[in-house]
Symmetry: C2
């Protein structure tokens, strides 16, 4: 087993450890519709608490999946958008949903 | 957001929480080649300890991803094989590997 293959599994485990957290998949799905302001995300997912949503967006930003864009308007506009790395997660999430629908409880 | 969609996310989080554990993806990949005896799996992944491999196979069995088949031969033969639910994970793992190769460290 080559080093490259080992790395691939390690990276895979990192992906899974991001998305086993509650709301992560849903937040990325919401952002796949395009860049959004914090309050728009919060409105789309009314059952998530502010504390958790702020924390999740921070984690996604630190993982290079989401970028926080600040537009110097008046009032200042802040939007969250997926990076290319984040948009590419779409294929994984689509397969997970297919699997869940067929095999989940 | 309907109940059905919520369930889909919850199931998705369960999938991710299975595979964020070290070796899980690799063990399933190895079993995608067909049913195998414990010692064959252990030989294919020489860096995993017996304690962890036994534990992982137990978790995969409990999750309905792997089935432990006992053949009443002499000596008794025990094989681990993926269920249909387990085989269906192939599509997810393939997308995760593609993503990791492109975007991983």
């Amino acid at each position: 087993m080559g080093k490259e293959l080992n790395n691939s599994y390690q990276n895979a485990e990192e992906v899974f450890s991001i998305f086993d957290k509650k709301w992560m998949g849903l937040i990325v799905d919401v952002l796949l519709d395009g860049p959004q302001r914090y309050k728009d995300i919060a409105q789309t997912i009314p059952t998530i608490s502010d504390r958790i949503l702020v924390q999740r967006l921070k984690e996604l930003t630190e993982n290079g999946i989401v970028i926080r864009k600040v537009y110097p308007e008046s009032p200042i506009r802040v939007e969250y958008q997926l990076t290319d790395k984040g948009i590419a997660l779409n294929a994984i999430l689509a397969e997970v949903h297919k699997w869940s629908e067929k095999w989940g409880d």
